[in-house]
């Protein structure tokens, strides 16, 4: 187990390093960051001055190594655009995304796991079809459309919920539902197929033969096995929500990490882009690791191998 974790950690570090190099190159090679920073009305001299100030006229490897050197001292750099230290910018935006991601995943699990279980218990019935319909709708409906629909209904028409911003906890309800619903179909279907398999397995039949109560069989002896792949999937979905909620964050004007990444790419705010990629890559890697450990805890066979 220790060797397994060490190997996974080494791989994780390697992934993060490669990601950051590729990202750094992409930002620099996709255009002139000095032109983006100087803005549209800038003359050649203005742009040259920006290039000089930020050291873009030096070789790329030197700029990259500078960034790494600063990072190793715990310095994420400075956002040229927001004129704040990147660490402070992240500290402002991270909690918003983390809150949104956790709420969205919570919503997705609360909705999809029970639905998956019911669908598996009564396959090919109205319940199963309703669950399937819900899943298909979640996959087919673009998230922006669903988000705008929620906004129209609860924000504009009924006026129950605030439309944008992060002023109160109510601000998170619509975004969490919109974001979480997107993850619902995959989790639901995986739970359903897992449950179907497990319910037909020998140990469940044995448990039933012993006369254990049906819910005990379902929760303790079936769901526990069926949920293993769901845990991995949920971890990946959470990673996706932390990094990929650009659309939802933009629509509801939540100033989270996804929104910040999108804005920063557009204005070539390199140090922020680098920091976000680093954070997201790390989060993904850690979540995958945690999922593996959780799986190991849930399934002794994984622990042994």
């Amino acid at each position: 187990m220790a060797a397994f974790i060490t190997k996974r950690l080494a791989l994780t570090v390697l992934v993060i390093i490669v990601t950051s190099i590729v990202a750094f190159m992409l930002v620099h090679l996709s255009g002139d960051p000095a032109a983006a920073m100087a803005g549209e009305g800038a003359t050649d001299a203005d742009i040259a001055a920006v290039r000089e100030t930020y050291g873009f006229n030096r070789p790329l490897y030197a700029q990259y190594l500078d960034w790494v050197a600063k990072l190793l001292q715990g310095d994420f750099g400075r956002s040229y655009y927001l004129r704040m230290d990147v660490g402070d910018v992240l500290a402002e935006h991270m909690p918003i995304t983390a809150t949104l991601g956790a709420l969205a995943l919570g919503f997705a699990l609360l909705l999809s796991v029970p639905l998956g279980v019911f669908a598996a218990l009564w396959p090919n019935t109205m319940i199963d079809r309703f669950s399937l319909w819900l899943a298909v709708a979640g996959q087919a409906l673009p998230s922006f459309l669903f988000a705008l629909g929620l906004m129209y209904l609860f924000g504009v028409y009924l006026r129950w919920l605030p439309i944008s911003g992060t002023g109160s906890w109510q601000n998170y309800i619509m975004p969490a539902i919109a974001l979480g619903y997107y993850a619902t179909p995959a989790i639901m279907r995986l739970t359903r197929s897992g449950m179907m398999d497990v319910l037909q397995s020998d140990h469940v039949r044995t448990a039933r033969a012993y006369g254990l109560s049906p819910w005990r069989v379902i929760i303790k002896h079936s769901l526990r096995h069926a949920i293993i792949p769901v845990v991995s999937l949920a971890a990946v979905q959470l990673g996706f929500m932390l990094g990929g909620s650009i659309v939802i964050e933009t629509i509801f004007s939540l100033k989270g990490i996804g929104y910040l990444a999108w804005e920063s790419i557009q204005r070539a705010d390199i140090e922020i882009i680098q920091a976000i990629l680093l954070v997201i890559a790390t989060a993904y890697a850690l979540l995958t690791l945690v999922a593996d450990l959780l799986n190991a805890a849930l399934d002794p066979r994984i622990r042994v191998s």
């Binding site: 996709s30 003359t43 400075r78 028409y157 006026r159 004007s253």
Partner: protein, 514 residues
């Protein structure tokens, strides 16, 4: 985006409920745009949002009336050129900064000398680059020594050059620069000014709050401020902005898409107004042969064919919408020296084809076509070009990717836009493109000489004559093809009374609740 807007517009148009507006009741005016402000200090940012804020919280030496465009005394009570490089200004007495200190000549000299210094990192240098130094003569008098004759000096001294107190930039943080050096981040200092409003809160990338300066000096041409609090918020998504506006979460938005304007206009609680802006949309054609001698754009007949091929009226009216107008010349009409009585090329595809045939392209040709903003407008241009046989390979890039290509002689044809940095003088538009910089794909020495002279002659009539000659030749040769001037549609709380002006600005210090 257009489809999304339509979906929401359709959904929301059924809504007829009358929302309770918080704005007037709480004396708080909230406005929103989709651009995050990079700094409220206009010297270090060049966004409209920063300029709007700057006008509300700061005073400059000279005020340009947003309705009549006349120059009026603001912090300077009078001025005169003692020779063509020396501008003498008398200053107002009894004015106080928001921090309580008195305004005097030292503050003017400090602010302008700071930003005019070559290493000041100022964003749009043209605004202060003409200043050699500012000299304090007495507490109520300064002399600005210009590097050369600067006819547009007064324009530069309007709202784009606010005055801060002496020592203002001393609190600028020291941040890492290139090569392990450090530099000062001047733009990180929140402005302290003498204007009608003062900043009480600034959250970078999120919001900015202004409160009424009850001690604002009497007799200012900007008037006494009326609304208590002005709050700026960034909301990226246009549909979200509309939803907030409809429910009273915000009081003012701009850039309303044409397809939503009508729906918002039909609502009882909103006012919808369109106005022209200063942003021009035009085609840059490689007349100078910078991309290669064989480039078809070097032939004036081809350039004229391009001009005849495009229905500018249709694009402006049907696509860009209210507030937009066909651009007749390579400048915007509100700018000093903008000659619009120049050769016009009416929409005539047959004539375009004939000109192409005459130039040796009876079957048209292929060419690289670059653009970076408003894809739909560029695609409309491409369709017109295709009609006459010009097959354009469309490359839509971000500005930072396009800018180096322009500088490196790689754009035979580009669809560009420019807002002249808000400066109402042709030296900021025509001269920007035709004086031999890397943006100049005409490289006409005669035009350049006229513009050079116009930019450094103080006699207004002589300047007009020179710019007129330059603009007429640019049109005769069809060097660049002006297409349209952008319009903007504003939608705001109907309780709000403020003048919508044609300078793409929002003069909120003039706003009142009805």
């Amino acid at each position: 985006m257009i489809e999304r807007s339509t979906v929401l517009a359709a959904a929301m148009s059924v809504l007829a409920a009358g929302p309770a507006f918080a704005g007037k009741d709480t004396d708080t005016f909230t406005w929103t745009t989709s651009t995050e402000m990079d700094t409220p200090d206009i010297y270090y940012g060049n966004q409209r949002e920063a300029l709007i804020t700057s006008y509300a919280m700061c005073d400059s030496l000279v005020h340009r009336d947003p309705v009549t465009n006349e120059y009026q005394p603001l912090l300077a009570t009078s001025w005169k050129w003692t020779d063509d490089k020396t501008l003498e200004l008398e200053l107002r007495e009894g004015v106080k900064f928001h921090d309580g200190t008195d305004f005097d000549a030292e503050d003017v000299a400090y602010t302008l000398n700071h930003v005019a210094a070559p290493d000041s990192d100022m964003k749009i240098r043209v605004i202060v680059d003409w200043i050699d130094n500012v000299e304090v003569v007495s507490p109520t008098k300064v002399v600005i020594h210009a590097k050369g004759p600067t006819p547009a000096a007064l324009e530069y001294l309007t709202g784009t050059s606010p005055i801060f107190p002496s020592g203002h930039y001393e609190s600028a943080p020291e941040v890492p620069g290139a090569n392990n050096s450090t530099r000062r981040d001047w733009g990180a200092v929140v402005p302290v000014c003498t204007g009608p409003y003062k900043v009480t809160d600034y959250q970078p990338g999120q919001s900015l709050t202004l409160e009424r300066n009850d001690n604002y000096w009497e007799g200012s041409p900007k008037g006494k401020p009326s609304i208590g609090k002005i709050v700026y918020r960034t909301i990226k998504d246009p549909e979200t902005q509309i939803a907030e506006l409809m429910t009273g979460g915000v009081d003012w938005i701009w850039g309303v898409p044409p397809e939503n304007a009508e729906m918002l206009g039909s609502m009882d609680n909103l006012t919808v107004v369109s106005a022209p802006t200063m942003r021009m949309s035009f085609l840059s054609l490689d007349a100078a042969g910078r991309t290669g001698a064989g480039n078809p754009m070097t032939d004036v007949r081809v350039r004229k064919a391009v001009a005849h091929a495009i229905d500018r009226e249709a694009i402006s009216k049907s696509l860009v919408g209210e507030g937009s107008a066909v651009q007749k010349s390579m400048c915007v009409p509100v700018q000093f020296g903008c000659e619009t009585d120049v050769t016009q090329y009416e929409y005539d595809p047959a004539k375009a084809k004939a000109l192409l045939a005459e130039a040796g392209y009876p079957d048209g040709f292929e060419i690289d076509f670059f653009a970076y903003r408003d894809r739909a407008y560029s695609e409309a241009v491409l369709n017109y070009l295709r009609e006459v046989g010009i097959k354009a390979n469309f490359q839509f890039l971000q500005w930072r990717a396009l800018r180096p290509l322009i500088a490196e002689d790689k754009t035979p044809m580009a669809h560009l836009t420019f807002g002249s940095n808000g400066i109402l003088d042709v030296s900021a538009s025509t001269s920007y493109y035709f004086k031999g910089s890397s943006d100049d794909y005409a490289r006409d020495d005669e035009v350049r000489a006229w513009l050079d002279e116009g930019d450094s002659t103080t006699d207004p009539d002589a300047r007009k004559g020179l710019y007129s000659k330059a603009l007429k030749k640019i049109a005769d040769e069809a060097y660049y093809l002006p297409l349209f001037v952008y319009g903007r549609t504003y939608a705001f709380n109907k309780d709000l009374d403020y003048p919508v002006t044609p300078d793409e600005m929002a003069h909120f210090y003039l706003a009142k609740w009805k």
